[in-house]
């Protein structure tokens, strides 16, 4: 780690220090308190919630959880979220690495144009393609199918994926590819056994970015799917809490269930996630 310069006490005004602590503590409270309130409220029955909005439950009960799980069909929601997240992430990584290798190491006059089109895509927003995607999925019969959601998810992950992979593979010395060529390896062989394994760090970054993006994605799947059987967590939770707006205990239980996977994922992959975010932010 880098060595930090010690700050002389006289340098940093105590008032400023108090102010900084204050802001940081306010943010901490604003994050932890609502989450705490959510979990506590999910342990109350509706009757108790109405009498006791903020306090700890007198008779904590877990009974809201099984009911919420069943009513919101969390089995289906989890399986669908897992499917879309895993499938789209694997495909985004594979396609981005392949294209990145082609753009970075193979000579072609098409590269500036094709690579450039992906860079433009980083700036594109979902809104600009939402209605056309909906109409296209209806016209092609992909509406309300898994494939009809998966393909756009992969497409949306590609711009940043191709950008990061191309940059990374460019940093691999040309001599690595050239010497393998002299030894008679085909380009596919070079890609599969040399470049792809070397690109593991960028694949991890990409995986983390894509997992957190797709797991939480709401708008697109909300438009492209109407069947209950294809709903993911955000859609299911939204529908559930809309339908049972006054059933507080169960609603809060459902929100808590939805909250847990991402928070656990974050606590485990905090370093990689923040690294991915700052790498992905080199937009514009």
């Amino acid at each position: 780690m880098m060595k930090q310069v010690k700050i002389r006490k006289s340098d940093f005004h105590p008032v400023l220090k108090v102010f900084v602590y204050l802001v940081a503590i306010v943010f901490t409270v604003l994050t932890l308190y609502p989450l705490l309130w959510l979990v506590i409220s999910s342990l109350k029955t509706n009757t108790e919630f109405q009498l006791n909005l903020l306090g700890l439950p007198q008779n904590p009960t877990l009974s809201n959880y099984p009911t919420a799980w069943r009513l919101a069909q969390f089995d289906t929601l989890f399986l669908n979220s897992l499917f879309f997240t895993t499938a789209s992430t694997l495909l985004v990584i594979a396609l981005s690495l392949m294209a990145g290798f082609a753009f970075a190491k193979l000579r072609s006059k098409a590269t500036p144009f094709l690579h450039g089109s992906f860079i433009m895509g980083i700036l594109l927003t979902l809104q600009s393609i939402m209605v056309p995607l909906f109409l296209m999925s209806v016209a092609t019969g992909l509406y309300d199918t898994r494939l009809g959601v998966l393909i756009p998810y992969v497409g949306m992950g590609l711009p940043i994926g191709v950008y990061l992979c191309t940059e990374f593979i460019k940093s691999i010395p040309d001599s690595v590819v050239e010497s393998a060529r002299i030894d008679g390896a085909s380009y596919f062989r070079i890609f599969a056994s040399i470049v792809a394994p070397m690109a593991t760090p960028v694949a991890v970054t990409l995986a983390i970015l894509n997992v957190s993006g797709v797991w939480n994605e709401f708008m697109l799947i909300n438009i492209l799917v109407s069947r209950d059987a294809l709903r993911t967590l955000p859609v299911g939770i939204h529908k559930f809490s809309g339908a049972l707006a006054s059933d507080h205990g169960r609603q809060f239980a459902a929100l808590t269930i939805g909250l847990v996977p991402m928070v656990v994922f974050y606590l485990f992959f905090r370093k990689q996630l923040t690294k991915g975010v700052s790498a992905g932010a080199i937009k514009g």
């Binding site: 392949m98 294209a99 209605v131 909906f134 085909s186 708008m219 932010a281």
Partner: protein
């Protein structure tokens, strides 16, 4: 024949096969729909088959004019402007403050604060929206707190057309400050510590280190962050969808929500919806160009 063999080298074949899958998927679901969206916004399409439909005619910029005459367009634009302002002048300075304080270890428990401040960004926006909706609702903690200070206080936050956007702005500030903190932190770590050490040995104060070394070397990042903030603010949809759904009386609508309502609620008005999305893309590009011009004028350096 010789020429063909020369053209069809192994390298070209490999290039084609490796690049094609990504290009095909990306062009099908991103590039083509973008162009398609613009074309659609100039037509009178209103349902039925989109392709090979003889009834579809070009009507010019009619839908754009209709959009500019719609009061909900202006309400949405105003709310988007507020969100951009809170992002650029709220999230970015706060994010920088946290990044700076954490990087220079001016507070204790830096790891803890960093984890907590970024936490909201990883939670599904739908859950965040639902949670804060309950938090600010008449049965939520916010009402209880207010009534402690002001007995008899009535919570009309989500019914008052003027106030309803305030909780949303607050949540947006709370939610995304962490992203900018992470971005600034990553770039602060790139500054050579020896440079700062040398400055300190030469007697520079903390303030001078901040204004003479750190801010100048971050000017490029600040520009990037502003661009992210602007395009991110124009995209905001999920949070509002879950928190207010644009209500009361569509007073908390934003452009994305306005477009969604136009396209998918009541009778679908696809061309108008596409006119809105084309406007959003143009506005986003315009603002990004403005940010870049400002950068050029004030001589920002990477």
């Amino acid at each position: 024949m010789k020429r063909v063999i020369h053209w069809w080298t192994e390298e070209r074949r490999a290039y084609l096969l490796l690049a094609l899958p990504a290009v095909a998927v990306y062009w099908a679901v991103m590039a083509f729909p973008t162009v398609f969206s613009f074309i659609l916004s100039l037509t009178n399409y209103n349902g039925g088959p989109v392709f090979n439909n003889p009834n579809i005619q070009f009507v010019g910029f009619t839908h754009y004019l209709r959009m500019f005459r719609d009061q909900y367009f202006w309400i949405s634009l105003k709310n988007n402007t507020l969100i951009i302002l809170i992002s650029v002048f709220g999230q970015i300075p706060l994010g920088f403050l946290f990044a700076y304080v954490i990087h220079r270890k001016l507070v204790k428990f830096t790891g803890f604060f960093q984890t907590i401040i970024y936490l909201p960004c990883v939670i599904s926006t739908i859950i965040v929206g639902r949670l804060w909706r309950s938090f600010f609702s008449p049965y939520g903690p916010f009402t209880e707190f207010m009534q402690k200070f002001q007995p008899g206080w009535e919570n009309e936050l989500f019914f008052d057309p003027k106030l309803a956007i305030v909780p949303v702005l607050f949540v947006i500030l709370w939610m995304y400050t962490g992203t900018y903190m992470i971005i600034f932190l990553a770039n602060l770590q790139k500054i050579d510590p020896a440079l700062i050490e040398a400055a300190r040995i030469d007697g520079a104060t903390e303030w001078q280190v901040l204004t003479r070394i750190m801010l100048p070397s971050l000017s490029g990042v600040i520009v990037t962050a502003s661009i992210l903030a602007i395009s991110g603010s124009l995209k905001s949809f999920d949070l509002l969808f879950a928190m207010t759904a644009g209500n009361p009386a569509r007073r908390t609508s934003v452009l994305a929500l306005y477009m969604y309502d136009t396209a998918f609620k009541h009778s679908p008005k696809y061309p108008l919806a596409n006119a809105i999305s084309v406007f959003m893309v143009m506005l986003s590009l315009l603002l990004i160009v403005l940010v870049k011009l400002t950068e050029a004028k004030f001589g920002g350096r990477e």
